[in-house]
Each structure stands twice: as structure tokens, then as C-alpha cells.
């Protein structure tokens, strides 16, 4: 586990910094995770990144756990823990202090303004996440159809998302996606 540049430090630095820029949550940070994990650090291949995303969606818990999986593939269990804590703790502390600050001041206008300004940014980031992941995974017409079908079903119905993930898995197992 001891390579020349300590992988744990690299993970802590990467995800600690990334969390501070993760406006709109973990899904919005996926393009940046992809850029760093695949293109810059070569921790994962394109295919592995898509797999890791799929596993994180299949597991219960917050979406941020994709960093646990990236951390694990870099440095085992220690990597998983370091990546998870680096991604969660700095911004959680920030939220903790800001919420205490806001409780003291009665100016409720600023949060609304900040939110209105940031909402388009975070939607744009999440859209980019979808695009980047789709470009990796949807290499066949059938694959693209599964994505489109899940998108339409999830937009129009209140079906539990788990069913769509399972359906995708079954279609994949049957060899229909290639």
C-alpha cells in the first residue's frame, strides 16, 4: 500500500478539496470525480468508473458513497474510509458553523438569494454528470434505450427507483445490452 506518493494523502487532498466545490451535492461532483479519477490520476478506467457508479446506485445510503468505492479501489479499506471522511467532514463542519451563525442573525433573505443563484449551477453540473456517464455506458442502441426508458419512467411515475435498477440488471444479464 506504500507507493512513492502516499495514496491516502492523495485521496484525502482530492476529495477534501472537491467537497468544497461540490455545489448541489455528490451527483453534481461526478464530472470532477471522473476527470480526476480517470483522466488525471488514472485510478480507474472508464469502464471501472461506470461500474463503480452502478454499484453506488445499487447500494442503500447517500449518493456520496461513490467516493467510498473509488477510495477502496485506490487503497483498500483505509482508502475507502479516508475518501469518505474527506468528502463528508469538511463541508459538514462548514454547514454546522453556518447554521449556528444563521440562527443568530434573523436575515433570512440571503439564503434564498444564494440558493436562487446556485440552483442553475447545480442542475447544470448534474446534467453534465448524466451526459458523461451516458457517453461511457450507452455504447449500443439497446443501452441508450434502457437509459431513456428509465429516465421517462422516473420522470413520469412514482415507481421505486430500485425496480428500474433491477430491470436494467436483468436486461444486462440476459445479454440484451451488450
Amino acid at each position: 500500500m506504500n507507493s512513492d506518493a502516499n495514496p491516502l494523502l492523495a485521496l484525502a487532498w482530492t476529495f477534501g478539496l472537491m467537497s468544497l466545490f461540490a455545489v448541489g451535492g455528490a451527483s453534481a461532483a461526478i464530472p470532477e470525480m471522473h476527470r480526476i479519477a480517470v483522466d488525471v490520476q488514472h485510478w480507474l478506467t472508464e469502464k471501472q468508473f461506470a461500474d463503480v457508479y452502478a454499484i453506488s446506485q445499487l447500494s442503500p445510503g447517500p449518493n456520496v458513497l461513490i467516493v467510498t468505492l473509488i477510495g477502496y479501489s485506490v487503497a483498500g479499506i483505509a482508502g475507502a474510509l479516508v475518501a469518505t471522511l474527506s468528502m463528508c467532514v469538511p463541508t459538514a463542519m462548514l454547514a454546522y458553523y453556518v447554521s449556528r451563525l444563521l440562527k443568530r442573525s434573523s436575515d433570512a433573505r440571503w439564503p434564498a438569494l444564494i440558493q436562487a443563484a446556485l440552483v442553475p449551477l447545480s442542475i447544470g453540473l448534474m446534467g453534465a454528470s448524466g451526459f458523461i456517464l451516458a457517453r461511457t455506458s450507452d455504447r449500443t442502441v439497446a443501452a441508450a434505450l434502457v437509459t431513456a426508458g428509465a429516465a421517462v419512467l422516473a420522470s413520469m411515475t412514482r415507481l421505486n427507483p430500485l425496480w428500474m435498477l433491477l430491470a436494467g440488471g436483468c436486461l444486462g444479464f440476459a445479454g440484451l445490452i451488450g
Binding site: 472537491m18 467537497s19 461540490a22 451527483s27 464530472p31 470532477e32 483522466d39 471501472q48 463503480v52 452502478a54 454499484i55 445499487l58 447500494s59 442503500p60 445510503g61 456520496v64 458513497l65 467510498t68 468505492l69 477502496y72 479499506i77 475507502a80 463528508c88 459538514a92 462548514l94 454547514a95 454546522y96 447554521s99 440562527k103 439564503p111 440558493q115 443563484a117 446556485l118 440552483v119 442553475p120 449551477l121 447545480s122 442542475i123 447544470g124 448534474m126 446534467g127 453534465a128 454528470s129 456517464l133 455506458s137 443501452a143 437509459t147 431513456a148 429516465a151 421517462v152 422516473a154 420522470s155 427507483p161 428500474m164 430491470a167 436494467g168 440488471g169 436486461l171 444486462g172 440484451l176
Partner: protein, 200 residues
């Protein structure tokens, strides 16, 4: 940690809220919400905190979530932390956070180990490929649902900012910090000016 409950902005509660939870109750409640939450915990967090345990009113929950949404980082983690601290200070924050993240981290680590050992098996590769196609569809649906209010309001400025960020990150693959350092101030100024002039 003072429990300061007299915020001027706090709305009149529409539901009676129950007694503040202890550390173990916080841990267990968040572990349960987290393990129920496939593809996002927010829905379950809302259900648990507001409807089931009545630890917050719907308005208090929305306010807290809005705060955690505009701050960077994983929203639901921020929410958990802030929520826990409201009742039991830093210890409460840590208990709720441990409940939210602990059990799923164990599950996901086991899955990661299985993937590393068996990831090359053909059947598993095919299943994962199918799951990831569906998962991407779910993400696109979330984006669509979040865009709906902007479209309904005919918020052209917001949609334009959204499109620029999409192109910069998704197509040009520019680094996130650089894009945000430019886009955030611009979005702020535009939003502020638009609100000032009363145009929407």
C-alpha cells in the same frame, strides 16, 4: 452547546414536535433512513424526521434543507450533521452522521471487495452494465425534475447559466473549481440585479 430555539425566522409550527431525541435514537433513526434510501436518502429523511418522528415541522425541514443545499458538499450529509447538532450539539451531529454513513459504508465496502475479486466475471459485467444504464436514466430524470420549476417560471437567465455550466463541464471537460469560480459570482450578480429590478 446552547439549544437556541428562538429564531426570528422560525415559522409557527403546524404540527406538534415531539421531545428531542437522544444520541442512540439519532444514530438508529439515521441508520434506518439511510438503509432504506436506494438512489438517495432525502425522501426517507423527510419522511422520518417530519412525519414519523415529528422532530421538525415541514417548514423547519425545508429551511434546514435549503441551507444545506446551497452549501457545498453532500447535501444529505450536511443536513444530518446540522440536524443532529440542533438537538445534541456536536455529539448529536456525530451520532446522526455515524448512523447515516456507517452502515452503508460497510455494505458498499463489501460490494467493492466482491467487485475487485469477481468484477471480471462476464455475467457480473453484463448485469452492472445494465444497472448503470438504468441508473443514468434515473439521474437524467432527477435533472429534469429539478429543471421543471425553472422552465415553468420561464427563467431564461437561470436556464442559460445552467446550459453554460453543462457545456463547460460536460463537453469541454474544464476543471470544476475554475468553472465555479467564474460562474458563481456571475450567477450571483445576475440574480441579485434581477431581484432588485423586480424582473423574474
Amino acid at each position: 452547546m446552547p439549544l437556541d430555539s428562538s429564531s426570528a425566522a422560525a415559522p409557527a409550527p403546524d404540527l406538534p414536535t415531539s421531545a428531542p431525541p437522544g444520541l442512540i435514537a439519532l444514530f438508529l433513526a439515521f441508520a434506518k433512513m439511510s438503509l432504506a434510501g436506494f438512489g438517495g436518502v432525502l425522501v426517507w429523511a423527510r419522511r422520518g424526521i417530519v412525519e414519523q418522528h415529528r422532530w421538525m415541522t415541514a417548514d423547519e425541514f425545508n429551511e434546514t434543507f435549503a441551507l444545506c443545499h446551497f452549501l457545498p458538499g453532500p447535501n444529505i450529509v450536511n443536513l444530518t450533521f446540522v440536524f443532529g447538532s440542533r438537538f445534541r450539539g456536536l455529539a448529536g451531529a456525530i451520532a446522526a452522521f455515524a448512523g447515516l454513513v456507517g452502515p452503508p459504508v460497510v455494505i458498499v465496502t463489501v460490494l467493492a471487495a466482491l467487485y475487485q475479486r469477481y468484477g471480471e466475471i462476464d455475467a457480473l459485467r453484463r448485469i452492472l452494465a445494465g444497472v448503470s444504464c438504468a441508473a443514468i436514466g434515473l439521474l437524467i430524470a432527477t435533472v429534469f425534475r429539478m429543471m421543471l420549476p425553472l422552465i415553468k417560471r420561464r427563467d431564461l437567465v437561470g436556464l442559460m447559466i445552467l446550459a453554460v455550466v453543462f457545456v463547460a463541464i460536460g463537453l469541454l471537460r474544464l476543471p470544476l473549481p475554475a468553472v465555479l469560480l467564474v460562474a458563481t459570482p456571475i450567477s450571483f450578480v445576475i440574480t441579485f440585479v434581477m431581484r432588485r429590478t423586480g424582473a423574474t
